[in-house]
């Protein structure tokens, strides 16, 4: 341990009150940062869970794939789960009002499909065999075709083909160029009506009809839904398997991981986070800077003595950074230790409000992210170093004798502390003294006033919410 580190550690121990005030400042700043980042991560997790509940637990869908390719994906180390349904085929819906969506797209689900792909029944039940169907509600509202539970329908089911190419749900309706081929007649009984399935894209040409999977039946193609170990790596996964088109992203879920193609949404998400962190960081700098600035005079004298004995600027700045590091090591764990339970309490208190507005069946849980905590710690350390470094830089640039004598901190002229007679009369002696004290060293309040402003803004935001 160098002599400078010894001086710092003993100084921290000797000036216990000052150290405690600084550590409290650091802990408060870290608490705020931890609270914001942990709350943001918890909220992100809540929104993503809500989106998964609504749209399904998958990241990418491939609409027209074969068994061999599916097996290959199942063996991919980045894939945690695959869900497959059979594409039975398309059938023309007579009397459909929507010219771009005039097909029924019949799919066959097994039990595992319902775990990954949510089917929200409005009435009836799920199909139990390949003779039963669940039809979506928007067939009536969008297509103008009304079926009731118990109806039996007969469909000519085939494959959509255009220029010799088989078309899937990814391919929008191509009027005049596509045709339905290899049709076979199938009869189904309607057993349930569900909400529009979230995995049916907006441009899909067929309304999704769901029947039960018959393992022995031969199918033309399948649709594969891939759930990745790390949703954030969706783009990397697509790049790795060499697919640039012909897939469908679960955008509603991915947007909460910042992977949305919607640039406006991403911009909004990141801008809000950046503004909040900047606001807290500025406030924290003022808070910690104040703690370091309070003891500046005492430090200046010590810096002066050390410099007169031969300490270099670099040695002094290093010792200040070491002091910041020590204060950080004490204050940051306290901030995190209080910040996380505080967020948990806030989440508990606000869970009902969130469920009223967003998802009723998703619990708002505390989600601790190592990355978010690391960011909080990093920003706290940067803040401490900046706060400690600023007064230290001022000290090392002050002539040594001025540091030792401390005769340069406040230079007062008669004019600068002059108060009008009216003010003097209004304020009495105590008020006049306070005002003169303020006027004699306005620089001191350069950090106090913005700090108070930042706190007021933050408090106002909390009250307003």
């Amino acid at each position: 341990m160098s002599i400078f580190q010894k001086i710092v550690l003993r100084g921290l121990k000797k000036n216990r009150a000052r150290t405690i005030v600084t550590v409290i400042g650091v802990a408060l700043a870290t608490l705020l940062l931890t609270a914001i980042t942990t709350f943001a991560v918890s909220l992100q997790s809540y929104m993503a869970q809500g989106a998964i509940r609504k749209n399904g637990n998958w990241e990418v869908a491939f609409t027209d794939v074969q068994d061999a390719w599916i097996q290959k994906q199942q063996q991919n180390k980045d894939v945690t789960k695959t869900t497959v349904y059979d594409n039975i085929g398309y059938a023309v819906l007579d009397g459909c009002n929507n010219p771009d969506k005039s097909y029924a797209f019949i799919t066959a689900f097994d039990d595992s499909c319902y775990h990954t792909l949510p089917v929200h029944l409005i009435s009836g039940r799920l199909p139990q065999n390949d003779q039963e169907l669940v039809v979506p509600m928007h067939l009536q509202t969008n297509g103008g075709i009304e079926y009731s539970i118990g109806d039996t329908i007969t469909l000519q089911v085939g494959t959509r083909v255009s220029d010799g190419r088989t078309l899937s749900q990814k391919d929008a309706y191509q009027e005049g160029t596509e045709a339905l081929t290899e049709t076979t007649q199938k009869t189904y009984q309607i057993v349930g009506i569900c909400q529009r399935p979230s995995f049916e894209s907006r441009t899909a040409p067929g309304y999704t009809f769901i029947t039960a999977m018959d393992q022995s039946a031969a199918v033309v193609s399948k649709t594969l839904f891939v759930t990745l170990k790390t949703p954030q790596k969706t783009r990397a996964y697509l790049k790795q398997i060499g697919i640039s088109q012909g897939y469908l992203l679960n955008d509603e879920v991915l947007r909460f991981y910042g992977l949305s193609d919607d640039q406006t949404f991403n911009m909004m998400l990141y801008s809000v986070a950046a503004v909040l962190i900047a606001l807290i960081m500025i406030g924290s700098v003022f808070l910690i800077y104040n703690s370091f600035h309070m003891s500046l005079n005492e430090r200046m004298q010590q810096y002066g003595i050390l410099m007169s004995v031969g300490a270099t600027e670099r040695q002094l700045l290093h010792s200040v950074l070491f002091e910041g590091f020590c204060v950080g090591c004490m204050g940051i764990p306290i901030g995190i230790g209080i910040g996380i339970p505080a967020v948990k309490l806030v989440l508990m208190l606000t869970e009902q409000n969130f469920s009223n507005i967003l998802y009723t069946d998703v619990p708002l849980k505390l989600h601790i992210s190592g990355v978010a905590l690391a960011i909080s710690v990093l920003i706290s350390f940067l803040t401490i170093i900046l706060s400690a470094w600023l007064p230290a830089r001022k000290a090392v640039r002050t002539p040594i004798m001025e540091c030792i004598r401390q005769n340069n901190e406040v230079q007062v002229s008669k004019k600068s502390v002059k108060i009008s007679r009216v003010m003097e009369h209004q304020l009495n002696l105590e008020g006049s003294l306070a005002l003169k004290n303020f006027k004699r060293n306005r620089r001191r309040y350069r950090s106090v006033v913005p700090d108070a402003e930042c706190r007021t803004i933050r408090c106002s935001k909390c009250i307003y919410r």
């Binding site: 002066g304 007169s308 004995v309 031969g310 270099t312």
Partner: protein, 227 residues
């Protein structure tokens, strides 16, 4: 040989401008004991601090052992102060959290060099601080604190010892003791000793007395040293 050439130091600007040193030129022989005297505000402390490299002059040059003090950058100047200059203040200026030994060895520890134990013991004995080696400054009397400050200045065996009213905050007995110590070191190690004082009895013990008034050298007397 140390030299001061045409040294000026001006504080403030405009109406508040004060000339502390006004074109001062002096030579100091190696190993000599020089006393600088003058009334309060005459500029004697400013001159000493300028020589020590802790108060940058407005103009002029200072050569210590042939080295141009203010031609160095900040880093080199700091190292020069650490190794070549021993500076003693009126108010000791010790580091309150370091004990006697740590305060004395501070310039060596700053250099990350190994402390010469023999030299340290020799100094502690000379300064009469053997029994106080683990004490903190606030556990020492004023005289003892000043002896620690002298020890710190001597530890590196600097070429020049500069003392700014070292007895100013001490009673007469301790003051005499401090001057005896400084003179003893001056003789023993052949260090150049420049001492600022307004006490004529102390100045009379020096080889040479320089009188300063209004920032100028008004008298420069060499005298026969009494044993």
């Amino acid at each position: 040989m140390s030299q001061i050439q045409d040294l000026c130091k001006v504080y403030g600007t405009g109406e508040n401008q004060v000339t502390a040193l006004d074109h001062v030129s002096l030579d100091f022989e190696k190993g000599a004991f020089t006393a600088i005297i003058g009334s309060s505000g005459s500029g004697k402390s400013t001159l000493l601090h300028a020589i020590a490299g802790v108060d940058i002059p407005t103009s002029g040059k200072i050569y210590l052992n042939g080295e141009d003090v203010y031609a160095k950058n900040n880093e080199k100047l700091a190292i020069f102060r650490r190794r070549q200059v021993g500076l003693i203040y009126q108010f000791h200026n010790l580091i309150p959290t370091l004990n006697v030994v740590e305060n004395i060895t501070l310039p060596i520890l700053m250099d990350r060099r190994k402390v010469n134990k023999e030299r340290l013991e020799e100094l502690l004995e000379l300064l009469g601080l053997q029994e106080r080696r683990e004490h903190l400054p606030n556990q020492l009397s004023g005289g003892q604190q000043q002896r620690v400050a002298i020890g710190r200045a001597l530890m590196n065996a600097p070429a020049v010892m500069l003392a700014d009213e070292p007895t100013g905050a001490l009673d007469s007995k301790n003051g005499r003791e401090i001057i005896r110590l400084l003179k003893e070191n001056n003789r023993k190690y052949g260090q150049t000793l420049i001492l600022v004082t307004h006490d004529e009895s102390i100045a009379l013990q020096a080889d040479r007395i320089i009188t300063i008034a209004d920032g100028r050298v008004v008298k420069d007397e060499r005298q026969v040293v009494r044993p």
